[in-house]
């Protein structure tokens, strides 16, 4: 079966999704986009077998990042997908909360593109590039 290589970006800012797109395309992944947690769940329903990583903002209208994270980590079909938070939430308590909810990696905004690419590769693990 042909498995596609996709990354899902969940962020209410279209500009941030564009910045993420450039890094993802350098790594030869296809980017799927959602502007909040509910929209992301709809994308996941259709594409969960192809999505190798979720890049997740915290503060979004509608379903926020932490609620989305809890929802997918308690779902048997989705919980294996690694999640990297990309957020302005820098307080230790926030990071602990995300870790306890099952986040796999964490990147603070603002970020440099090189740092984003490095963190994405880190989150994907070596196996995905083979």
């Amino acid at each position: 079966m042909d498995t596609k290589k996709m990354i899902l970006s969940v962020d209410d800012s279209a500009i941030v999704r564009k910045i993420i797109r450039s890094s993802v395309e350098v790594l030869r992944f296809e980017l799927l986009e959602a502007s909040d947690g509910m929209e992301a769940l709809t994308v996941l329903e259709k594409k969960c077998n192809d999505i190798k990583l979720i890049l997740l903002d915290w503060n979004m209208p509608g379903m926020n990042g932490i609620d989305f994270l809890k929802a997918i980590k308690s779902h048997s079909f989705y919980k294996h997908i690694p999640v990297m938070m990309i957020t302005t939430e820098s307080e230790k308590e926030s990071i602990i909360k995300a870790v306890q909810a099952g986040v796999n990696n964490y990147l603070l905004k603002p970020f440099k593109t090189e740092e984003l690419t490095k963190k994405i590769m880190e989150s994907l693990g070596k196996g995905v590039f083979m």
């Binding site: 209410d12 800012s13 279209a14 500009i15 941030v16 564009k18 910045i19 450039s22 503060n59 979004m60 209208p61 957020t87 302005t88 939430e89 820098s90 307080e91 230790k92 603070l108 905004k109 603002p110 970020f111 440099k112």
Partner: protein, 168 residues
């Protein structure tokens, strides 16, 4: 007003709640440099009457918690094109107006995040409401009848950026 510190004016009996002015300056410079690669220089603020004259886009964010405040980042359209084009690598002529608004809004959101991070080291904690943009030539922002408690001006090349803090 001191160059180094300004006080929270909302409630005079709240002694000790101060945000070092350089936290704000550092946040503005660091966020813009990190996201765009552009060097930002802080400069002298002109008379209040001139401050709102260049405005076309303001990104605005409200923080609540130990301090309730509103931050705004105000630029004219050429500066918005420069910032958002540098953030995304998209040529200015290919940027849509709503992408400019989104980009400036995201920058003020990141600046508030960076300021909050610095303040958390002083035991002050905040949450942020979703940021938004105010658009229009020569617009200005007021809280009740007050202008901003803190106004800072920055330059990227010869173009202006204004950053303002209002205590609510």
């Amino acid at each position: 007003m001191s160059d180094t510190y300004y006080s929270i004016k909302k409630d005079e009996d709240k002694k000790g709640n101060e945000i070092p002015s350089f936290f704000v300056s550092n946040a503005v410079k660091n966020v813009i440099f990190t996201m765009t690669g552009l060097e930002v220089i802080e400069t002298k603020v002109p008379d209040a009457a001139d401050v709102d004259f260049i405005s076309h886009i303001s990104g605005v964010v409200l923080i609540t918690g130990s301090i309730n405040a509103m931050f705004s980042l105000t630029v004219a359209k050429p500066m918005a094109y420069l910032l958002v084009s540098s953030m995304t690598g998209i040529l200015p002529q290919n940027l849509r107006e709503e992408e400019l608004y989104d980009g400036i809004t995201e920058l003020v959101n990141m600046i508030s995040g960076e300021t909050r991070a610095q303040m958390s080291g002083r035991g002050l904690h905040f949450s942020t409401l979703p940021p938004f943009a105010i658009i229009g030539d020569k617009h200005f922002v007021l809280h009740k009848n007050k202008v901003a408690n803190l106004v800072k001006k920055f330059l990227v090349g010869d173009k202006d950026i204004y950053f303002k803090v209002y205590f609510l």
